[in-house]
């Protein structure tokens, strides 16, 4: 083996020891995570093309249905039925719920877990860049990348679901969907990327704590599911104090939190109300053949409620109006962003103090 001469080491001046510039981390991060990032972009891109095609059909069907005259004619009813028949994607909004956590977990959890599992952290954390800077320089660009990609995808989902949130077509028999609808609210352009970011941050911390890729991903799914259910079932309705109304009919965009009857200032229990309402309902229900009863139930029920309100009863509804949709999106996006920043900071703190 021939000796290869090593040139003399440049003089060092420790006083002027400047850290390695941050921008150099970009290329390192890209080289190490390009497959994960390209995978995310490919997956979202393929889904986006599909959603675009489905969305165009949906929008066309909706436009055709609302442009139809006269409303109620058999031809128009056909168009409305065509539009309503395309609601599989509305019903399957649940499918898209899994996307943020899948992307977040599969990109976020391996960042530290793979280094710790394969032992490469001993290489990475002994380079001149410094380990907490290395961690920050990796997590932040990756977080921004997944947030941006899912933000664009959330905008596409918002566009797709647009026809369902449009108002004022009761005459056509098109019912309006509340934008707060669980399963749709967190697919919109603020909440969707925010949840992805949270999943990424949970994954990064889980990877640091668990130190193995697959268990870290599994833990991320579990923690994320818990957080998403808590937010959807308990937290979201409390973002702003609900409004109260005594109206009997609410616009479809409103998110009804709870409803109850009072009389003379006291709240009446459900069983009490049953005893009060049932005789009225029986009296108001017209005599119709049994096969048509279901057509008359709802109108009769409304008549019953109206009758009771004219006789000293009050029907209270606490609700979040549709106009609060954007404030709610930003509140949810805000606390998820704060949580993610906290989790990433905790991850970096653990890397910094970690005793190998």
């Amino acid at each position: 083996m021939t000796a290869l001469t090593v040139p003399a080491r440049p003089e060092e001046d420790d006083a002027s020891l400047r850290p390695v510039p941050w921008r150099r981390m970009a290329g390192v991060t890209w080289r190490q995570h390009r497959f994960a990032l390209l995978g995310v972009v490919t997956l979202l891109g393929a889904l986006a093309v599909y959603l675009w095609m489905v969305g165009l059909q949906l929008h066309r069907a909706y436009a055709a249905a609302i442009a139809c005259h006269p409303a109620g004619s058999p031809a128009c009813q056909d168009l409305v039925n065509t539009f309503n028949g395309m609601d599989t994607f509305l019903a399957n909004g649940v499918i898209w719920q899994a996307l943020p956590v899948l992307i977040g977990a599969f990109v976020g959890a391996p960042v530290l877990a793979r280094e710790l599992e394969t032992g490469t952290y001993r290489y990475a954390w002994t380079q001149g860049f410094g380990r907490w800077r290395w961690t920050l320089g990796k997590l932040v660009p990756l977080a921004i990348a997944v947030t941006a990609a899912t933000g664009a995808f959330g905008a596409l989902l918002s566009w797709l679901y647009q026809p369902y949130f449009a108002t004022g077509h009761q005459a056509l028999g098109l019912s309006e969907t509340s934008p707060f609808n669980t399963g749709l609210f967190d697919l919109r352009e603020v909440a969707f990327p925010a949840w992805t970011l949270a999943a990424f941050a949970i994954g990064a911390l889980a990877g640091m704590l668990i130190r193995r890729v697959v268990p870290a991903i599994a833990a991320t799914l579990v923690v994320y599911a818990g957080l998403a259910f808590t937010a959807g079932l308990f937290l979201r309705e409390r973002y702003l104090t609900p409004l109260l109304t005594t109206k009997l009919t609410m616009p479809g965009s409103a998110w009804i939190i709870s409803q109850w009857w009072t009389k003379g200032g006291t709240t009446l229990s459900q069983s009490t109300m049953h005893q009060v309402m049932d005789p009225v309902f029986q009296r108001l229900m017209p005599a119709v053949p049994p096969d048509q009863v279901h057509l008359y139930k709802l109108p009769t029920f409304l008549d019953t409620e109206r009758y009771l309100t004219q006789h000293g009863y009050t029907y209270w509804t606490s609700y979040q109006p549709g106009s609060r949709f954007w404030p709610f999106q930003w509140i949810e996006g805000g606390w998820l962003l704060a949580l993610s920043a906290l989790l990433i900071a905790a991850t970096i703190w653990l890397v910094r103090r970690r005793a190998a």
Partner: protein, 306 residues
């Protein structure tokens, strides 16, 4: 200058001390071998020195007082961890790119010339290289950082004899050309005997011997005589007595000038004999060792013999 200084350094995992009461001052400009059986605390000491882990007790500084793991310390130390971890799915060229990006200095021409010489293709993925090539790549990346101290954890344990030789040749070439100091750990001394300038013996988490190799060899002799006379030997302190049939071999703390008792013959000890003798007798007093103040050898001996 000392490349590493420790005082009362200890590391505990749970309730077990992997390293304790370690006080050392390792001089620069040579190969320092950290030798001891598996589980002696070698990797623990190296991880503390390169800043991968934090001490549970005591202090460690590197390169004349830089705190281990500080930016200034990381800048001057290149570490090749055990089993030479590399990003298996990155190409050799990408590994060069990543290492260059993560350090203030990186000698790209040196690294490329070195890989050419080794016949390592730049486009091959690191995980597809042979074990010897992976070790050489990791070493090349470390040397191209132009460190003042190169730390190698069990560098040759997984290599075949040819790869071992090539690996050590690269290390020694860099030392000669660049003056880089080397600290390496190994559970065998045999292959390192020629190159080692400073020896540290570790066993059960404690330093048993630390000293300049020339001084150690000059102050130890092997005496050979009749086995029956061992108990009557009353010369210089015996580190270890070994018997082979009728003959006894004593490793004693003596110089070439010390008189040899009648019936005994004396010769120089090899470094490996010396290391083995001390590792077999953890209670032996180390002449050149840097022992922590108040270190109770007697207590330790009784603990060991339990």
């Amino acid at each position: 200058m000392n490349i590493i200084e420790t005082s009362g350094l200890g590391k505990r995992y749970g309730g077990t001390w992997a390293l304790r009461e370690c006080t050392l001052a390792i001089p620069d400009g040579r190969v320092t071998a950290l030798v001891g059986p598996n589980g002696a605390g070698k990797s623990t000491l190296l991880n503390l020195a390169v800043g991968l882990s934090a001490p549970s007790a005591g202090e460690v500084s590197v390169l004349d007082g830089r705190p281990a793991g500080s930016p200034a310390a990381l800048d001057g130390i290149a570490f090749v961890a055990q089993d030479t971890p590399l990003y298996k799915n990155l190409s050799v060229a990408d590994m060069l790119y990543v290492t260059r990006s993560l350090n203030r200095r990186f000698d790209q021409p040196y690294a490329q010339a070195r890989l050419d010489e080794l016949g390592i293709p730049p486009k091959r993925r690191a995980g597809k290289l042979s074990g010897g090539q992976q070790a050489q790549l990791a070493l090349t990346l470390a040397l191209a950082r132009r460190p003042r101290l190169l730390v190698l954890d069990e560098p040759v344990a997984m290599l075949d004899p040819v790869a071992r030789h090539d690996f050590m040749a690269t290390v020694l070439t860099a030392m000669a050309a660049d003056g880089v100091s080397v600290l390496l750990s190994s559970h065998v001394l045999a292959e390192l005997e020629r190159v080692t300038g400073y020896l540290i013996l570790l066993s059960r988490g404690r330093v048993h011997l630390a000293g300049d190799v020339d001084a150690l060899l000059a102050s130890h002799r092997v005496l050979t005589g009749p086995a029956a006379d061992v108990d009557r030997y009353a010369g210089r302190p015996v580190v270890h007595a070994g018997r082979a049939e009728a003959q006894a071999h004593l490793l004693v703390q003596a110089t070439a000038d010390d008189p040899v008792p009648p019936g005994w013959t004396a010769r120089a000890a090899s470094l490996e004999e010396l290391a083995l003798a001390y590792l077999r007798e953890p209670g032996a007093v180390a002449l050149h060792g840097t022992l922590p103040p108040g270190h109770d050898r007697g207590a330790e001996k009784s603990e060991v013999t339990k």
